[in-house]
Amino acid sequence: MDLFGVFEQGAQQTQFEEADVEIIEPIEEFKIIKQREDEGCVHEWYAPEDHVKLENPKRMAKNYKFNLDPFQVQAVKCLEQYESVLVAAHTSAGKTAVAEYAIAMAKRDKARVVYTSPIKALSNQKYRELQSEFGDVGLITGDVTLNQNAFCLVMTTEILRSMLYRGSEIVREVAWVIMDEVHYMRDRERGVVWEETIILLSQKVRFVFLSATIPNAGEFAEWICRVKRQPCHVVYTDYRPTPLEHFLCPAGADGLYLVVDKQGTFKEDKFKEAISKLEDGGDKRKKKSTEGSDLFKLVQLIKAKDYAPAIIFSFSKKEVEGFATAIAKQDLNSVQEAQRIEEIYKNAMNCLSEEDRQLPQITHMLPLLKKGIGIHHGGLLPIVKEIIEILFQEGLIKALFSTETFSMGVNMPSRTVVFTSVRKFDGQVFRWIQGGEYVQMSGRAGRRGIDDRGICILIFDEKMDQDVAKGMLKGNQDPLNSSFHLSYNMLLNALRIEDTDPEYIIRRSFHQFQNERQLPEMKQKYQELKERTDKIQLENEDQVQHYVDLTQQIENVNYEMREILNNPMISLPFLAIGRIVRIKSREMDWGWGIFLNFMKRKLPKNESCVMLDVIFHVKQRRKQLNDPLVPISWLEQGEIEVVPVNMDHLFDISTIKVNLPRDLKNPEEKQKVKLTFQKIIKQFGEDGIPLMHPIKDMKINDQQIDALLEKKEKLQQAYQNADFKITNQQILKFNEKEKLLTSQKILRKQIELSSKMVLSDDLKRMKRVLKRMQYLSKEDIVELKGKVACEIQACDEIMLTELLFSGLFQELSAEEICAVLTCLVHDENANDKFVIKNDKLNQLYGKITDMGKKIFQVYQDSKINIEEKEYLASYKPQMMEIALAWCQGQTFGQICKSTDQFEGSIIRCFRRLDELLKQLQEAAKVMGNRDLETQFNESSKKLKRGIVFAASLYL
């Protein structure tokens, strides 16, 4: 049917209300038309109202060997109209087919196409895939540049961003930009790069976004439509070519329990059964020891039931290795398979030097692999990681132990996915795995065209709520929320270019867009509140207001007085055992009680407070249920309880003292106390118990007290004069109105905040920093230091620029430069007790921390909100000695022995270092210092050798 005929008729218009408090001008105002149609998948599109669709699509740019799924058909239709599309589907659903179509179209039209992915390793794999399909493909990452004149370029998003700032022919020629894994935009650190790239690209560029099944895909598409002024389609599908079955595996018990079946129904009875099978008793240690054996049994089961290959996820590198070695007793492979593995492995390792082949990680890995067991985590050498990926794809690895990193990547499906834990450490706490994470990881299960179903097994060792389990197993992807923030590099680059400025980018950011989107809703809420407030009708409101004001004031005076009197030096002498006192805090009135004892208690930060033990009459309660204490009148039915209270809540001291019996535990004596008290109350009445007068009785000589007493008297006089005739109901009504008014005020403030430009305060502060440190002139012109900082992207640009201009690198040798720079690029957490043994390096690290302190001072003066400790801790010295040793010519084996750092971490650090050195050479050019440039070049040469820069197997 004619899809786009519907488009004209049923056009709904999303209204953009005029803002109440208009602080910023909207970026280009135009109406967006939203349409929706479902044909085997959700298909929504957003278009500017004056958009004219293309007629007569050309012939198909690409034919597929297989029949396309409905969502793929939809997406391809959009592409043929030369319109942007966001494809949100599960990993296995076949998003790549859509991307390939866009590439084929670009090839047909002789236009360029850029494919960006979040991770270098992913780019390498994609490069290989696309090269076999299209031939003329290039690759640009921080490490390698291959065939950069190709029509199709694979690159990391960061590279595309810097091309946009610098201006490049590629940017001018690109017609299609394909962004893989675009939901990575929510990444706190790097997500902003995606937003910058999208904003800076020309409006004529069309996009293909591939993402996980994010629920707010429509919002994202609307943003694209708004900032790029072009139609953007959403093709969303929950469809999985191979359905998933979710099993629970209680730790320590036998068997698997099918909890979610192929149709996706949650079986509560099975769930309860599984929970009940869980070993009782909360002994954590015992559980740990059984975990290995659980896995052992499970792997056997997988082998027996032919569930292999399986990916087994855990959440730490140590756990991954531990589990793998625990399972290593089993052999999952046949002899032939083992032989093939050895052959492939040896072949791959031949590209390394003789020496490097003897590295423990490489020699130890082979026996494990031959048994069909693999390991995959960030600490591995890249080459080992890649060979394991290849072996896994070949089906030669039956059980792959992996960290979460494996869940993000190219098509590497498996039949079964096992989770060894239901909790994950996220840097602060061990929390439940989130639904989104579970979806991403479990999405690896089920190979298209091979398996009829994918299997997910969740091993759990603690009781789980049904809701928690449902949220996890049947959870949705988290919405894509902007993590936009400003960086100095972005500010400087944007200020430097004629056509942009930081405000331009901020206003067009997804962050701003999401913020403004809430506005209409908030405004409506505000309107409702206002109506509700107006509805409340009060008679003689003025008088009620006056009454409330007066009582409030009297109360306040009382509290002020108490504050002075409650100084232990003043009140304690009058607090003898048996003194009748009144305790009242702002939240709760405890009424009258009998003072028993006091003690001082130390609080953190050298403060102390005085606690009073007071006898109260409370409601009878059941102790085992932890009922709260509720004080009641002494005349009612209740029991006597000793309660410790803070002295700040002492409200009144009476002139009466009662004699207390010695043993208060005795019920008879308790009864006596009660009787005495009741007598007193009957004599004076509940409100008439005589009080100590601050001046007359307590003989306090304090001017403040005098003034307060006088004030109180006046207020009380006024209170009597006013002669209020007010009902309780009126007061209640009044209070309700007050409450509504305050929430109105808060909402109003929020609305104001939302309609302002986001991050405008941050922008001001950061500009202040840049101006103070001479990166910017007073007129926002980028100065020499700013131009240098523009070149640096691989680490903290301010720190490095300061170091460059301090002349530090001039005095250092090439090796030492590498060592110093590791502090800036190394970002993995390690133990705090690290000590640098080399004196020279220690001294150099000292210089970095000194510079850090200086910079922090400027940050603080400019009101930037960071902790000094946290900031300084971001410069980590752990890699310094390793880098020095490496540059001085030690072998990789030697340096690995000298440290507890993972091999993969070392390599990652060195590669980033090399990237940084390249940028530094550019920076030295800007500074006009040739010597420095050659020195950095020298460092780079020293660094670049051997296994550290061994080419990826995918290239």
Partner: protein, 264 residues
């Protein structure tokens, strides 16, 4: 505000080529300096500029030295090898590659484009472009980032001393009297009635008489500023045009202009 006078006034030391700047340890030599035996010497005539530990010499009178990101206006002198050679008044060769030019469609340049380069820019055309990069041999690559760069036509060019042009946030301006100015960092300015900041296929329009008068005024102001070596920015031009409208004498004009600029 005359440059020489300014140097004297601020009491800045003038360095000649070969003058020692410093023998202090820890300093780094920057632009227009060289290092010998741990001492840093000047290689040109100029004043000292120190940023932290980096010392450089700001030359006072010199041919234009381009920096990455600057806007220039130049004249095409040669077409060769998919490149236009452009005269921007610099010592080094400046070229604009075919691939670095902007065309409305996002596509790769073809052989057809190469054959038709003269249709894009011909010899003796004036073009506006941005400095893209500087090669190791100091030769310069230009690029035209978007539609607003490119061939300039149907307006008035005005040459001034390039060092008088103030670095500003934007270099495409609309003055108070509706004259659009492009500040080329190399000292060439373009005055017209074309608003090149908006996306439009053709910028050229017919001039009204008032527009011609206004352009004349701005042009006169620029000549005046150049003659008296006053820094040229949007502010100084606008102020001077105002002052000239009041028919003040040359001396009064200068005095008031200095006052205005010092205040800023």
């Amino acid at each position: 505000m005359q440059l020489e006078a300014a140097i004297l006034e601020e009491d800045k030391q003038l360095y000649l080529p070969g003058d020692m700047i410093s023998d202090q340890a820890g300093l780094m030599s920057g632009q227009n300096t060289y290092e010998e035996n741990g001492r840093i010497y000047s290689s040109t005539i100029g004043t000292l500029n120190q940023t932290n530990q980096l010392v450089m010499i700001n030359p006072i009178k010199h041919s234009y030295e381009p920096q990455i990101g600057e806007i220039i206006i130049g004249k095409v002198v040669l077409i060769k090898d998919k490149k236009w050679t452009v005269d921007i008044g610099s010592n080094s060769e400046t070229t604009l590659h075919l691939n670095s030019t902007y065309i409305p469609e996002q596509r790769q340049k073809t052989e057809d484009d190469e054959m038709n380069m003269r249709l894009i820019f011909a010899e003796d055309d004036y073009i506006c472009a941005e400095i893209h990069s500087i090669n190791n041999d100091k030769s310069i690559n230009l690029h035209t980032r978007s539609h607003k760069y490119g061939k300039l036509d149907n307006g008035k060019f005005q040459q001034v001393c390039h060092y008088l042009i103030v670095r500003q946030k934007k270099h495409f301006f609309k003055l108070e009297n509706e004259v659009h100015v492009i500040f080329g960092h190399n000292g060439l300015l373009f005055l017209s009635n074309q608003d090149r900041t908006i996306n439009q296929v053709d910028y050229e329009q017919n001039y009204t008489i008032q527009q011609r008068i206004n352009i004349g005024k701005v042009s006169q102001a620029l000549t005046f500023l150049n003659q008296h070596q006053v820094l040229i920015s949007q502010g100084s031009i606008e102020k001077l045009v105002q002052l000239r409208d009041q028919k003040l004498s040359e001396q009064d004009c200068l005095a008031q202009l200095y006052e205005f600029l010092n205040k800023k």
